[in-house]
């Protein structure tokens, strides 16, 4: 069963003459429990698609279906709770003057949920944070701990979809591994569907089943994880991105080795 269906989705910023079409007519479907990746360089429109799915960018055309329900530009509370966004920057995404407990209580109050303290304790345990962290302020936590809090806040409304916007690119390698493992565990345990935006194909290949490679607002290729790992992708741009995630390719060494056989 498909959890997300986007059909001829186009997103723009601004109005009238100055309107800028950032995403041009993309269509995709994401199955329940699947992780779909969006990869590309800055300005390619990957975060904009995520914003449209989250309800952040309201200027879109086409059709969007989430959990079998067609979504309009304005969403109800329960529609908003179906998917939650995890931001890139763990330092800017948590209110600096709220304790962690307050941050987690906020969505429960908005949605009038019961058993609030119980839910907060459960979600803190789920993301691997000690319970007394709820009394702390964000500035008393490390980047990795804050990202766990951000994930906890996204999970507390029991959404079906997590929209992950470069969730590990601001973190150190060792912390990135912890967060990626956590995301894998949560997906399995909570039956979640993910959309992961990243510029790093290695991270995407680690987490995603399928990935759309984007360039200037459109998909150039939708590749499976298998294709990435077996290096059987079709589009040359995908190859460039894959090389990039492996590191630097010396032009000199390349030309040297090319010159050698001749």
């Amino acid at each position: 069963m498909s959890m997300i269906k986007a059909h001829h989705l186009a997103v723009s910023y601004g109005h009238g003459e100055a309107a800028l079409k950032v995403v041009k007519d993309v269509s995709f479907e994401v199955q329940k429990g699947e992780t779909f990746g969006l990869v590309g360089e800055s300005g390619c429109g990957k975060s904009t698609i995520l914003g449209a799915l989250a309800g952040r960018n309201k200027q879109w055309t086409g059709t969007l279906e989430i959990d079998g329900e067609e979504i309009g530009q304005k969403r109800t509370r329960s529609q908003l709770a179906k998917q939650q966004l995890v931001f890139q920057d763990p330092f800017g995404s948590i209110h600096p003057r709220h304790t962690i407990g307050r941050t987690l209580l906020e969505p429960l109050e908005i949605h009038g949920k019961d058993r609030r303290q119980e839910r907060i304790e459960k979600v803190l345990t789920d993301v691997g944070l000690p319970l007394n962290f709820r009394y702390r302020y964000p500035h008393q936590l490390s980047g990795g701990q804050r990202q766990r809090v951000a994930i906890a806040r996204a999970l507390i409304l029991e959404p079906k979809i997590l929209l992950l916007d470069e969730p590990t690119s601001a973190l150190d390698v060792s912390i990135q591994a912890e967060i990626l493992n956590l995301l894998k565990d949560l997906r399995e345990r909570e039956q979640l569907t993910y959309i992961l935006v990243s510029h790093d194909l290695a991270v995407v290949a680690h987490l995603c089943d399928r990935v759309a490679i984007m360039q200037s607002g459109g998909f150039v290729e939708v590749a499976t994880r298998q294709q990435l790992l077996e290096n059987t992708v079709e589009h040359p741009y995908t190859r460039i991105l894959m090389d990039g995630s492996r590191g630097y390719v010396s032009e000199r060494r390349k030309s040297d080795s090319a010159a050698l056989p001749a």
Binding site: V173, L180, A202, A205, S245, G247, Y248
Partner: protein, 282 residues
């Protein structure tokens, strides 16, 4: 390649300490290394002291910081005893620095062309007219397609990749013998990063100079540098040839390598780094 053994910079037991309200914090502890005519990478996580090390070499540490070392020799200059005036003559000319965001290194109220020309006039005693044509040539050298247009842009009008190229073009003129690059490509897209690194690579190899490349990106340092220094909590835990990184011995280096998701070596679960307090003792 004959010059590879020439040592440009020697640092022996350098420590950097910051006095804080709750006592003294040691950001860098007993670090020793030397840089020859090579690309040497310093890798570490945030708080490992890698950037502090780079700044301490330039003597650009914050005023309250205390830098101590048994030796800090840059070519014929003793960096420990050099006066501030001597340091000013060294910075930018004999040791150049590239930072993550070129905007902070460029003057925001001067066009990039004017800034490069100024360097030309300073170093080559050229007339303003000659300086302009030299500048345009330099911009072309760093693969800027439309140098005439870029000449008149202000720093805020250029992209990150373009900014780093402009920084490199200034170095082409100043001809430093050591470049310290602190995360120069972290804010750049993959394709732009490749171009900037390739220009930097050419510069270092052609001029036969030294490069200290500070980064958190293991794959990048491994593929770009000749040697790698791995730092953890202000200490050098290991120094190893980039090609041999996979054979690294120190558990921290191994932990970092295993924590990295890889296209060529996929794993279901990434290894989580277990920090051993013993790493802090040496």
């Amino acid at each position: 390649m004959a010059n590879t053994s020439d040592t440009i910079l020697t640092v022996e037991s350098m420590s950097v300490e910051f006095p804080t309200l709750s006592g003294v914090t040691t950001a860098v502890r007993d670090v020793s290394f030397s840089v020859g005519r090579e690309k040497i990478g310093i890798i570490g996580e945030s708080g490992s002291g890698k950037s502090t090390t780079g700044r301490a070499i330039m003597r650009l540490q914050p005023p309250q910081a205390i830098v101590e070392a048994s030796r800090m020799q840059f070519e014929d200059i003793d960096l420990l005893t050099a006066t501030e005036e001597e340091m000013r003559a060294i910075r930018g000319r004999r040791i150049a620095m590239i930072l993550q965001d070129p905007k902070y290194s460029l003057n925001p109220v001067m066009t990039v062309g004017e800034q490069i020309s100024e360097t030309v006039i300073l170093h080559e005693r050229a007339t303003p007219k000659e300086a302009r044509s030299r500048t345009l040539a330099m911009l072309e050298r760093v693969n800027i397609r439309d140098p005439e247009r870029v000449f008149d842009l202000y720093p805020h009008e250029v992209s990150g990749g373009m900014g780093q190229r402009i920084m490199i073009s200034m170095m082409l003129i100043a001809q430093p013998s050591l470049i310290i690059a602190d995360e120069p490509t972290s804010a750049l897209d993959v394709t732009v990063r490749q171009q900037v690194l390739s220009i930097l690579d050419d510069l270092v190899v052609e001029r036969n100079i030294g490069l200290i490349f500070i980064s958190h990106d293991l794959n990048l340092v491994r593929s770009f540098c000749d040697r790698v220094i791995i730092m953890y909590a202000g200490r050098v835990v290991e120094t190893i040839a980039a090609a041999d990184l996979d054979q690294a011995q120190h558990p921290y280096t191994r932990g970092l390598l295993n924590a990295l998701p890889s296209l060529d070596n996929p794993k279901d679960r990434l290894e989580v780094l277990r920090r051993d307090p013993a790493w802090l003792e040496n």
